[in-house]
């Protein structure tokens, strides 16, 4: 970019750009005070990428938000610490001073690109606003600068995109817009708060590529917040490991990964999902069989609402699943994996033959399906959303028993609930508590217990690990494998996380736009993928590399 002046050339490399000293953040609710961040210190030098790694609740986002004082004051406060940006303490800065820093010297990109953009303004207006605020550029000059920025973040045909609204863009494009906005004023420091967590693996690889390129071009510093160690290893210069509000280890990335000092860092590094799926046994009975499954949503138009076209969410998928085996369904978001799962579980209507333990169930009504529901269970993605907050854990697990095993007395039901809780590794005494008292991993165990209590044959697992922290993911994967071995369960495992699929699945279906791109034994697919698209997915997931191919969308 010729228009970028060399603003930082005169600064000596040793002076940190941002220096956080002994920062603490406390939250007050009523009489309760919780310390979210406890005496955190770190430096970011010019041109450096510092990664802040930790699990959810470790205080990494709160730390990042306090740099620009974006926390909900006064319910949040800083009992101690200072944040020196180019020698100025931002914590003591007045609101007008802070406003000059925000979006100008220090900018932020957030995790959720959909909610960080105003849905009512076109792209041009949103980026133009920042230019006008901090640099006073308007009109034609602003438009030229906006096009320049859009080119820079890799938006194809930016002229056509100027008038687009956020909902017309894909998740990756939205995140590119956010980055364009963040770069608009050539910041010295970019704070990226989990910028790729909400994105597909292929898009994540592209965004990381983009950020790496921009860093090299501009020499800007970056504070990169993530829970994904793979990204840290690929991307950061130095890393701070946070847990429970404290930084437990700081160092150069190579040192920390090669020689972790703190037990928590070692625990984190060791927590990738491991293990192998159980042996494939072709003599086992077929539990679930699908032939040419189609889920088409009609698009209606005109006065008479005539069906003019269909959205082909699932378009002709065949599958066979035997007892004790796992079928992994992978693909990007929007590829129809969840829809396929819901169709097999008969939670949405579909065409095509579905045979479940010898019964053709695809034409059954909801009532006719009910006798099969105990053997056909579902575990959903979000353990926070899938448990009713108003019911105790015991009631949640017992709900299915009340429908399918009415003959049980209250005591027998209670015994079964206790059994299911032990089965998933929870203390049966916890069944009197409410879901909000449990962590994400424990909640997912409860959701699994709800399925297990009915002794299912087939369980559809819809991204059961993607809302969980890395260490918890590994535990849930182990639990699922143990349960499968013990009860000879058939799993339909839907996930975009190829690492987890690799640890669980016997067979894999790769889906794209409702169609099967590639299918086969997982060992073969992971070792030697045939299709371009599968290869791109693998490269993005295992090496965080964006592959230049037409197979992957932006």
């Amino acid at each position: 970019m010729p228009s970028i002046p060399e603003r930082r050339s005169g600064e000596p490399m040793t002076d940190p750009l941002l220096s956080v000293r002994n920062l603490s953040v406390a939250f007050h609710q009523g009489a309760d005070t919780t310390l979210a961040v406890d005496g955190v210190s770190f430096d970011i030098r010019p041109g450096e990428v510092l990664a802040l790694v930790g699990e959810s609740g470790s205080g990494k986002s709160v730390t990042a938000n306090s740099i620009l004082k974006l926390l909900p004051y006064p319910s949040a406060s800083h009992p101690s610490g200072e944040i020196l940006f180019e020698g100025r303490d931002l914590l003591k800065a007045s609101e007008p001073e802070l406003r000059r820093v925000r979006g100008n010297d220090v900018t932020m990109i957030f995790q959720e690109p959909m909610t960080s953009l105003n849905p009512l303004h076109a792209i041009e207006k949103q980026i133009g606003e920042i230019l006008q605020l901090h640099q006073g550029i308007t009109g034609q000059a602003a438009r030229i600068r906006i096009l320049e920025l859009l080119n820079q973040v890799g938006i194809r045909e930016p002229e056509k995109r100027l008038k687009a609204y956020p909902h017309e863009l894909s998740g990756g494009q939205r995140q590119r817009m956010m980055i364009a906005m963040a770069l608009a004023n050539r910041p010295k420091l970019l704070i990226a708060d989990e910028p790729t967590t909400a994105l597909d693996v292929t898009v994540q690889a592209q965004i990381l590529d983009l950020l790496r390129g921009l860093k090299g071009e501009h020499g800007m510093s970056m504070l990169f917040i993530t829970h994904d160690l793979g990204i840290v290893r690929k991307f950061a210069d130095r890393v701070c490991v946070m847990t429970k509000g404290k930084i437990v280890e700081t160092g150069a990335v190579e040192d920390v990964f090669a020689n972790p000092q703190h037990t928590y860092t070692r625990h984190l590094l060791a927590s990738e999902p491991r293990g192998e799926p159980p042996q494939t046994d072709p003599s086992k009975p077929v539990v679930m069989e699908g032939k040419d499954i189609r889920v088409w949503f009609p698009i209606k138009a005109g006065l008479l609402r005539k069906v003019v076209d269909h959205v082909k969410a699932v378009d002709g998928v065949d599958l066979t699943l035997r007892a004790g085996e796992t079928l992994g369904v992978v693909g990007e978001s929007g590829s129809g994996k969840t829809t396929l799962g819901l169709a097999l579980a008969r939670l949405i209507s579909s065409q095509g033959r579905i045979v479940f333990i010898g019964n053709q169930i695809d034409q059954f009504s909801f009532k006719e399906m009910r006798p099969f529901r105990d053997r056909l269970q579902v575990v959903f993605q979000d353990p926070y959303g899938s448990l009713s907050p108003r019911m105790s854990v015991g009631d949640i697990i017992a709900e299915g028993l009340k429908v399918h095993e009415r003959a049980l007395s209250a005591d027998e039901r209670d015994e079964r609930v206790a059994w299911a809780l032990t089965e998933v590794g929870l203390d049966p005494a916890t069944r009197w508590r409410y879901p909000h008292e449990f962590s994400g991993g424990q909640r997912q165990r409860i959701a699994i217990a709800r399925a297990m209590v009915l002794k299912p044959r087939f369980v559809m697992l819809d991204e059961p690990t993607s809302a969980l922290d890395m260490t918890v993911q590994a535990q849930v994967v182990d639990l699922l494998r143990d349960l499968q071995k013990k009860h000879d369960l058939a799993y339909l495992f839907i996930s975009h996380d190829l690492k987890v699929v690799k640890a669980l699945a016997n067979h894999v279906i790769v889906m794209r736009l409702g169609k099967v791109v590639e299918a086969g034994p997982s060992e073969r697919i992971f070792r030697a993928p045939k299709e371009d698209y599968t290869r791109a997915l693998m490269a993005a997931a295992f090496n965080l590399e964006a592959v230049e191919t037409g197979a992957v969308s932006q």
Partner: protein
């Protein structure tokens, strides 16, 4: 079965679940923290309970009497007058003859106010409406009694604390009974409209599609009806009364809750725990009742105090127009219309005005406190 074999692991003794879930505890604490709403609630409850006991506070018959060594309960039982040597079907305990007869053969305990809402004070000093006693000269207050100031009936309970209306009925007694009937009518109408409204909204929101579309259109047409004219027409055909009025108003008032409940059900029917329940094979009605209704209850409960005050205001305005409760009923609307017709007797208008405004303000304060207590984002210091 395999389960029974495994389940022999010792099961911890069932810990009794707490009476209130933590969320409800926080809500209660929030409600308490809102001092204005909290005190309004208690003041309203005290007034309401007192008005429920109106027969013991303002009545034209004694609470307990002893006559010829027999304990009588005139509040509960209608004794014929022949028991005391008279000839009427029901005893007029206010008449001098009966009073002397009972006093001579026993005793009686009167409520603090010796008038019921229909009792006519036959001893008013001048033509009705009469002033509150404390606005009159001391000598004038009892001048219509046979013995004037010295009359045994010239007691505080027989004086009209807030004056009388144009038919010489005690305003205090009418106010107490009027408050009670207003609140009871409001509560009945609110509960009935809540039941109908929640059921209608639930069905619409849960099933969606055509059910929703048809019912929405129906509600739009229904709520566009000129309620007042329909009321006038029905009131001219059917005899006015508490339950007929309740029924007519219910026809139109249930609509107000439908929107909120429908929105809540539309939102919540796609929650994952609802989908999870469906995947377990739980039936529609159970899902609606167990999983969705609790969500909608917050919105409903938030609305109820406001619907209650709206119902009370509706009843009062109908009474004011003369299409409300049958003539003679103690109603605040009727008192307002009397105040309008008797501007020389401002105690009528003032009493009705203060009763209405205090009652409605208390309800609104309670409503605000309830609304804020249910608001998860609101915290009190």
């Amino acid at each position: 079965m395999e389960a029974s074999a495994v389940a022999t692991t010792p099961v911890a003794p069932p810990r009794k679940r707490p009476f209130l879930s933590p969320t409800n505890k926080r809500r209660l604490a929030n409600f308490r923290a809102n001092k204005r709403g909290f005190w309004s609630f208690w003041i309203f409850m005290v007034l309401f309970v007192l008005s429920l006991l109106a027969e013991f506070i303002a009545n034209d018959r004694p609470i307990i009497a002893s006559y010829k060594d027999e304990i009588l309960y005139p509040v509960f039982i209608d004794y014929p007058e022949e028991k005391f040597g008279g000839f009427l079907a029901t005893t007029d305990y206010r008449s001098d003859y009966i009073q002397q007869e009972i006093e001579a053969n026993g005793w009686m305990i009167w409520p603090p106010i010796r008038y019921s809402y229909q009792t006519v004070n036959s001893n008013i000093p001048h033509s009705a409406p009469t002033k509150p006693f404390w606005l009159m000269e001391k000598g004038d207050r009892c001048k219509a009694y046979p013995q004037g100031d010295q009359d045994p009936n010239c007691t505080l309970g027989n004086l009209n604390w807030l004056g009388t209306d144009d038919q010489a009925r005690d305003v205090t007694a009418r106010m107490i009974y009027g408050f009670r009937i207003s609140v009871l009518f409001g509560l009945a109408l609110t509960i009935c409209s809540a039941i109908v409204g929640v059921a209608a909204g639930a069905v619409q929101g849960y099933f969606g599609g055509w059910t929703d579309l048809l019912m929405q259109r129906f509600i739009e047409i229904w709520s566009a009806m000129p309620v007042l004219y329909i009321l006038l027409i029905i009131a001219s055909i059917l005899p006015p009364g508490f339950f007929i009025l309740l029924g007519i108003l219910l026809l139109f008032s249930w609509v107000s809750l439908v929107g909120v409940v429908r929105a809540e059900f539309l939102r919540a029917r796609n929650f994952e725990y609802v989908r999870a329940a469906r995947a377990l094979g739980v039936g529609n009605w159970t899902i609606m009742y167990r999983h969705l209704l609790p969500n909608a209850m917050v919105a409903t409960l938030t609305f109820l105090p406001f619907i209650l005050s709206g119902s009370i205001a509706t009843l009062t305005s109908l009474d004011f127009l003369g299409f409300g409760l049958p003539p003679g009923s103690p109603s605040l609307g009727e008192m307002i219309s009397q105040g309008k017709n008797n501007l020389q007797a401002p105690w009528l208008g003032f009493t009705a005005f203060f009763t209405m405004s205090i009652m409605l303000s208390l309800l609104i304060f309670i409503g605000e406190a309830v609304r804020d207590a249910f608001d998860p984002r609101k915290t009190f210091g």
